[in-house]
Amino acid sequence: MRVVVIGAGVIGLSTALCIHECYRSVLQSLNVMVYADRFTPLTTTDVAAGLWQPYLSEPSNPQEAHWNQQTFNYLLSLIGSPNAANMGLAPVSGYNLFREAVPDPYWKDTVLGFRKLTPRELDMFPDYSYGWFNTSLLLEGRKYLQWLTERLTERGVKFFLRKVESFEEVVREGADVIINCTGVWAGALQPDPLLQPGRGQIIKVDAPWLKHFVITHDPERGIYKSPYIIPGLQAITLGGIFQLGNWSETNNIPDHNTIWEGCCRLEPTLKDAKIIGEWSGFRPVRPQVRLEREQLRFGSSNTEVIHNYGHGGFGLTIHWGCAQEVAKLFGKILEERNLLRTPPSQL
C-alpha cells in the first residue's frame, strides 16, 4: 500500500506520522513517502510563532473546535516528558488584550487557568481596557518539524524533494492513497476558489527578558492585524500583519514598520532588542479546513485522495486533531479495500 503525502509542513509531517503510527503494525505493506518542494526551514510552519491559540470566534465547522482541543490535550500530555523542549514544546502564559469587553472564547476551558485581567494588570497596557490571562502551549514550528522528521525517518518514511505538478503524475507512479497537505498552494493541484493566502510578516528578536505572550485584538481590523509578541523557545516573534490575497513572499518595509512600531508601543523594552531575522509566509486561509476524501480516476486506476489543507493561522493549533481525522478516513479506505484483518491499534 503506497501512501504519498504531499507537503512537509506541520500538516503533512504530522499526518504522515499519525498514519504510520496507527497502521504500520496492522499493514506490513504500508509504505509512506513524503513529497514536497519545501522542507523545514522553508515551510509556512517555520514562519509561524507557534502559539496554541484558535481564532476567537467559533469555527463554522464545529469539528474544528474539537480538533483544536484534541491537539491541546495531546500536546499537554507530552509536557511531563524530558523531551518536550526537543519537540519544540513548552508551556507559556500571557495576555490577550482588547479595547472593550468581549465574550469569553469557546476554548477558555481548554487552556489552563483562564481568567480575566485585573485592573493592575491592565495598567501595564495603557491602550487596552480589557483582557484575558491564561496558560497555553508553545509549539515552535521549526523544532517540531525537525522532531517529526526524525520520528518519521526512524520509522523508515522517505522524503523526496520534488514539485508535484498534478495528482495524476503521482497516481501514474503507483500511489494508492494521496494525502494532500499542500497548504496555501493546494490550488495548483486542484483549483479551490475558497483558498487564499493570508500573508503574514514577522520579525524575530532576541529579548530573553520577555516570558509572556501579548496578543492585541482590534475587532474592526480583523485577526492578526493588531500587534502581537510571542516568545519562542529562544527568540521572540513580533507580528501583526494579515493581508488576504497578497502573494508577495518578500519582506517589505511598511509592514516592518507597522510591526515594529506596534510592538514597541506595547512593550517599550523592545527598543533594546536585537533583530535576528525577518520572514514572510502565507497562512492558507479558507472558510473551513478542507478535510475530506475524494476519489480520482485516471485511466483505469482508482486512487483515493484525502485532502487536509486550509488551516489558516491555526495550523499548529489544530494539526493533531486533523491528523487523527485523516487517519480515521484512511482506516475506512483500508476497510473498504479489505486490507484490515485486525482493527487498528490507536485511534
Binding site: 524530558p82 502564559s93 481568567r115 494588570e121 529579548a207 509572556h212 517599550p268 533594546d272
Partner: protein, 341 residues
C-alpha cells in the same frame, strides 16, 4: 547648611538601594558607599531575586506587607518602563505548589502580586506529588544587572563608591557624620550582633530558555526561577553553614529535585554552581544607634538581616532606613542645647 557626610557600609542590594534612596530624599548630604565586595561578588548577585517574600517571625505582618508592597510597586514601575532591561527587572508567572493543604491558603502578600489565585485541578495535574497551589505573576529583580544599574544612578547623583574592608565602624569617624550599616552578615563583627547567622544557599544557574514559568515548592527548598539569561535552580537552607564553596553532591541533588518538578530540565546545559549566605535574623534590624566612645559620637542606622527576603523587601526597608537617616540629619542640624551631654 553644611553637607552631611554619609557613609553606607555594604554594596549589596541594601547598601546601594539605601544610598540611592538617601540621594533622592535627603537634601544636602554626600553619600559614599564603602565595601570590600561589589557586584558580581555580593550575596545579592547569587540570589535569584524573585519577589516572593518570606515571613519574619519578629516583624508584624502589616509592616512586612508594607515593605513588600513598596518594593513591588517600585519595581513594577520599572518593569513597565523602557528601563526594565537595563535595571534587570522582569515579569514572570508561575506556580507555588504544596504537598499538603496549607493552614493559611491565602498568604499576606496575595494582593500585592498580580492575578493571584488558587491553581485549578488541571494545572495541578502537572505536579502529581502536590495537592494544592497558587498561581500568580510576580517580578524578578536580578542582582548582576540591578546592582550596576543602582551604582550608575548613585554616581549620577554625585555619590561615591570606595573599595575598602571596614573592620570597625569607628574607622569612619570623623570623616563621616552618619553611618548606614548594610553589611549583612558582616554585622556579626561590625555591630557585634550575635543574632545574625548565615543560611547557606547553593544554586545552579543553567541554560534552559524554554522554561518560561517559575515553580516553587512551598517548603522553599526546591525552586525553578527563569531569569533573563539563565534559570536558577535551587536550593538549600543550611543554617549556620559559612562554607562558600559549592558542593558537587548537593548540585546533583538540586538538579534531581528540580527535574522531578520540570522534567524538561534534563536538557538544561551550561550548569554553573553558586553559593550565597543568606544574612538571617528573626527580624530585619532597622534602627538607629548612637555609638559613643569617650567624647566621640557616631550615629548609625542599621539596615540588615533580611535573610531570604532581601530583594523582595529591599526598597521598603531602604525607604524606612532613609527616614531614620533623615532623623539623624535633623538632629545633627539642630543646634545642641547648651546643657549636659
Amino acid at each position: 547648611m553644611d553637607t552631611v557626610r554619609i557613609a553606607v557600609v555594604g554594596a549589596g542590594v541594601m547598601g546601594l538601594s539605601t544610598a540611592v534612596c538617601i540621594s533622592k530624599m535627603v537634601p544636602g548630604c554626600s553619600i559614599t558607599v564603602i565595601s570590600d565586595k561589589f557586584t558580581p561578588e555580593t550575596t545579592s548577585d547569587v540570589a535569584a531575586g524573585m519577589l516572593i517574600p518570606p515571613t519574619y517571625p519578629d516583624t508584624p505582618i502589616q509592616k512586612q506587607k508594607q515593605w513588600f508592597k513598596e518594593t513591588f510597586d517600585h519595581l513594577f514601575a520599572i518593569v513597565n518602563s523602557a528601563e526594565a532591561e537595563d535595571a534587570g527587572v522582569i515579569l514572570v508567572s508561575g506556580w507555588q505548589i504544596f504537598r499538603s493543604i496549607p493552614t493559611e491558603e491565602v498568604p499576606y502578600w496575595a494582593d500585592v502580586v498580580l492575578g493571584f489565585r488558587k491553581m485549578t485541578k488541571d494545572e495541578l495535574k502537572k505536579f502529581p506529588q502536590h495537592v494544592f497551589g497558587h498561581a500568580f505573576t510576580t517580578l524578578k529583580c536580578e542582582g548582576p544587572t540591578y546592582l550596576p544599574w543602582l551604582q550608575k544612578r548613585l554616581k549620577g547623583s554625585g555619590g561615591l563608591i570606595l573599595t575598602r574592608r571596614i573592620e570597625d565602624l569607628w574607622e569612619l569617624h570623623p570623616s563621616f557624620d552618619i553611618v548606614v550599616n548594610c553589611s549583612g552578615l558582616g554585622s556579626r563583627q561590625l555591630a557585634g550582633d550575635s543574632q545574625i547567622f548565615p543560611v547557606r544557599g547553593q544554586v545552579l544557574k543553567v541554560q534552559a530558555p524554554w522554561v518560561k514559568h517559575f515553580i516553587r515548592d512551598s517548603s522553599g527548598l526546591t525552586y525553578i526561577y527563569p531569569g533573563v539569561s539563565n534559570v536558577t535552580l535551587g536550593g538549600t537552607r543550611q543554617k549556620g553553614d559559612w562554607n562558600l564553596s559549592p558542593d558537587a553532591e548537593i548540585s546533583k541533588e538540586i538538579l534531581s529535585r528540580c527535574c522531578a518538578l520540570e522534567p524538561s530540565l534534563h536538557g538544561a546545559y551550561d550548569l554553573r554552581e553558586k553559593v550565597g549566605l543568606r544574612p538571617s535574623r528573626p527580624g530585619v534590624r532597622l534602627e538607629k544607634e548612637l555609638l559613643a566612645q569617650g567624647s566621640r559620637r557616631l550615629p548609625v542606622v542599621h539596615h540588615y538581616g533580611h535573610g531570604s527576603g532581601g530583594i523582595a523587601m529591599h526598597w521598603g526597608t531602604a525607604l524606612e532606613a532613609t527616614r531614620l537617616v533623615n532623623e539623624c540629619v535633623q538632629v545633627l542640624r539642630t543646634p545642641a542645647p547648651k546643657s549636659k551631654l
